[in-house]
């Protein structure tokens, strides 16, 4: 273990009683306080590589009755004397784990284990605001005699999620990457044209007693499915057949009409990112939580066990009967299902027997796509974007 870069203050403590003479803390935290670890002999600090228990302890964020303890991560260089925490690719490879738990078209849940919160959070933020998607940006109203005002209808149209052939999207370019930048000319490479032309008419075939507007009139409700793709130039090759650009959810109600009313609108869709407007966000939610950890420190038996398992959501804890003694004992089965409600900590009889926490580097990531991309592609896109940012940053560093 390399010992370079250790402050000399460490050696001071070998000879002075730490409690009396106040000097800098040995952990290189530059604090004038004496921490508990400073009182231990330096020899012991050097000799001790962190034990398994210690490493496990560092991984847990404590959830106590009225506070959360051990919040920040400590695995950075210089925090523990004598330990090398410089970032190491091999080490990272060994630690990083990804387990997929749910992978539907729209829902994706996986565990991201062994990364720092900053990285997990970067992915989350990129997913929400930097993965580009297509959305309606400009609305040209030729006619709108429905009761929904033009600007309200335009705003509603903008929020309709669109989908289309994924390979086709690779041909698309930005119309305007920065809001400040002047827009380039609209071409088939950067603008998708959609049309919405509906008129409401009376259905004369219905009996006079009919009261349901859906039956009385044709087109009394305008839905997202009425938005029709109007391919321009080569777009008919890129987005054809099932790959045609269309709303993800055909049943979004856009407006209601009565006979004589009409909507005739042309829309231009462009690529954009969620940072600019939420309509461009490819996810409904992208979030993570830390895996809960529940430690039973003393066996919980008998009636207490019953009480104990009732403190958790179903499936978290269970009562097991010892085969030899026949004693009933509470065990943790699936901490993943726990909500960390801290209910256990309220009971006097369970005091000191349980320790709640969360595992600091175990992220339960959940991504919910709005439909333009499959949910599993989204995370890969986010990784790619972060990677590109890193490369750009590195280049900038080399330049300066």
């Amino acid at each position: 273990m390399p010992l370079t870069g250790l402050p000399l203050a460490v050696f001071v403590f070998t000879t002075t009683p730490a409690r009396k003479k106040v000097s800098l803390c040995a952990r290189a935290c530059n604090s004038p306080h004496i921490h508990r670890h400073c009182t231990a002999s330096t020899a012991a600090i050097f000799a001790m590589a962190p034990t398994k228990e210690e490493l496990e302890r560092r991984r847990i964020v404590g959830v106590e009755e009225e506070r959360v303890s051990n919040v920040t991560s400590t695995d950075f260089p210089g925090h523990y004397p004598g330990e090398d925490h410089t970032w190491n690719l091999e080490e990272f490879r060994k630690k990083l784990k990804i387990q997929i738990h749910k992978a539907n078209d729209l829902d994706y849940e996986f565990d991201l284990i062994g990364v720092d919160a900053s990285i997990a959070n970067a992915f989350r933020r990129i997913l929400i605001s930097e993965v580009p998607t297509l959305a309606i940006e400009t609305v040209f109203v030729h006619n709108n005699t429905s009761i929904v005002q033009d600007e309200v209808l335009a705003q509603r149209l903008g929020l309709v999620p669109l989908r289309g052939d994924k390979k086709g999207f690779q041909h698309l370019r930005w119309l305007k990457k920065n809001p400040d930048e002047p827009a380039v000319e609209a071409t088939d490479f950067n603008t998708i044209v959609m049309g919405l032309k509906v008129a409401c008419t009376r259905n004369h075939a219905t009996p006079a007693t009919e009261t349901d507007p859906e039956k009385l009139y044709f087109n009394s409700s305008v839905y997202a499915r009425d938005i029709k793709f109007q391919p321009q130039g080569r777009q008919s090759d890129w987005f054809s057949g099932a790959g045609e650009i269309r709303p993800v959810n055909p049943d979004i109600l856009l407006a209601k009409m009565r006979p004589g009313q009409e909507i005739d609108i042309e829309m231009h869709c462009v690529l954009g990112i969620g940072q600019d407007h939420a309509k461009f966000s490819p996810v409904a939610t992208a979030s993570y939580r830390l895996l809960p950890s529940i430690k039973i420190k003393q066996p919980i038996t008998g009636e207490d066990a019953e009480k104990f398992i009732n403190c958790f959501p179903k499936g978290v804890a269970e009562i097991q009967t010892d085969k030899k003694t026949g004693q009933k004992k509470a065990v943790i089965v699936n901490p993943r299902k726990d909500t960390v409600s801290r209910e256990v900590l309220r009971h006097e009889e369970l005091k000191g027997k349980v320790e709640l926490g969360r595992i600091r580097d175990h992220f339960i990531f959940s991504i919910e796509s709005t439909g333009m991309y499959h949910s599993d592609e989204l995370f890969l896109q986010a990784v790619q974007i972060l990677k590109k940012k890193c490369v750009d940053f590195h280049e900038k560093l080399l330049e300066s």
């Binding site: 940006e137 400009t138 109203v141 903008g158």
Partner: protein
């Protein structure tokens, strides 16, 4: 000061240019004016064409409130 005369939107492609004598009431006398206009009855919803000087009244139901039609011009909005 010369002010531009108000030019009402044309209705029905000049279908009824009957009352020919009423050209240019405002400033520029040489601008040809459409004298018949289409309105919508506020009661029965039918389209009503009226010429200058006509009673403001629906020809179908006799209702005296008429609505102006929405402009046929394209209006641009940002979907934000």
């Amino acid at each position: 000061m010369q002010r531009d005369a108000y030019v009402p939107p044309t209705a029905g492609g000049g279908a009824a240019r009957g009352g020919g004598g009423y050209g240019g009431g405002g400033g520029g006398g040489d601008i040809p004016r459409q004298v018949s206009m289409k309105y919508l009855c506020a009661d029965c919803g039918k389209s009503v064409t009226i010429n200058k000087g006509d009673m403001i009244r629906c020809k179908e139901c006799g209702f005296r409130i008429l609505y102006k039609e929405r402009t046929k011009r394209m209006v641009q909005f940002e979907a934000r």
